[in-house]
Amino acid sequence: MLNLKQLEKQLDDALNNETSDSLTQWLLTQRNSELETVPFEAEFVKTVAITSNMATVDYSYSYNGADVYAMAA
């Protein structure tokens, strides 16, 4: 039988150990890795936005008719 208490403990421990920086970095790594695996047939649209404290580059692309979105800092 699945140990739900253990799953919850592991999630709580992980969340409690996170800082804003560690979580942001993890999310950006996830989104950057998506960009790196974009197939070459994909059609890109790139926009650049400057926010108060950082520049972000937004890429949207379509592949096989599916719209995909990703962001990189």
Binding site: M1, Q10, L11, A14, E18, T19, S20
Partner: protein
């Protein structure tokens, strides 16, 4: 408890001996081996998402589900799952100001909380928008998918059937 489930892939030169791990960025439940509960959903998936070679194959396997987080048929597992998603998503939003995606929240459970060390997989459902439904405007059938984190819960993996993809 074992369930018979279905795995869809493009037709290749050689038949598969094991399922292929899914690394798609939009995979519902993060990285893993994906199986459909209903054969009809495996076939729909082939027509819609496995079109590269013009043909797709459906494989059949027995999945040992005793240590799978069953959010479809087990009420305790479902309420647990919903609570963990909402807790984690709220925490991430508060810390980063970023709303996580479906794939990210599931990947977080797998990578950062190491859920794959404890659970063998997750059974999840949404609703199909499918022509096989026999009642108008009524999604009475669940579209159920399993992600297996480990191959050792998969047995008797075997070719089942193949189809030519529908033209767009």
């Amino acid at each position: 408890m074992k369930r018979v489930m279905y795995h869809t892939q493009e037709r290749r030169h050689v038949r598969l001996k094991t399922p292929i791990i899914c690394m798609r960025s939009n995979a519902w439940l993060g990285y893993g081996y994906y199986f459909w509960y209903d054969e009809i959903d495996a076939i729909h998936w082939g027509h819609n998402s496995k079109k590269q070679t013009g043909y797709f194959e459906v494989y059949k396997a027995d999945i040992e589900c005793d240590n799978v987080l069953d959010t479809v048929f087990n009420e305790e597992n479902y309420t647990f799952w919903k609570k963990q998603i909402e807790k984690a998503a709220q925490h991430i939003m508060q810390k980063t100001g970023i709303r996580t995606t479906l794939k990210e929240i599931n990947q977080y459970f797998q990578e950062r909380a190491s859920w794959s060390d404890v659970a063998d997989g997750i059974l999840f459902q949404d609703l199909p928008n499918s022509e096989d439904l026999l009642v108008t405007d009524f999604n009475y059938r669940k579209r159920i998918q399993l992600v297996a984190y480990k191959l050792d819960i998969v047995s008797n993996f075997a070719f089942h059937d193949e189809w030519k993809c529908n033209k767009d």
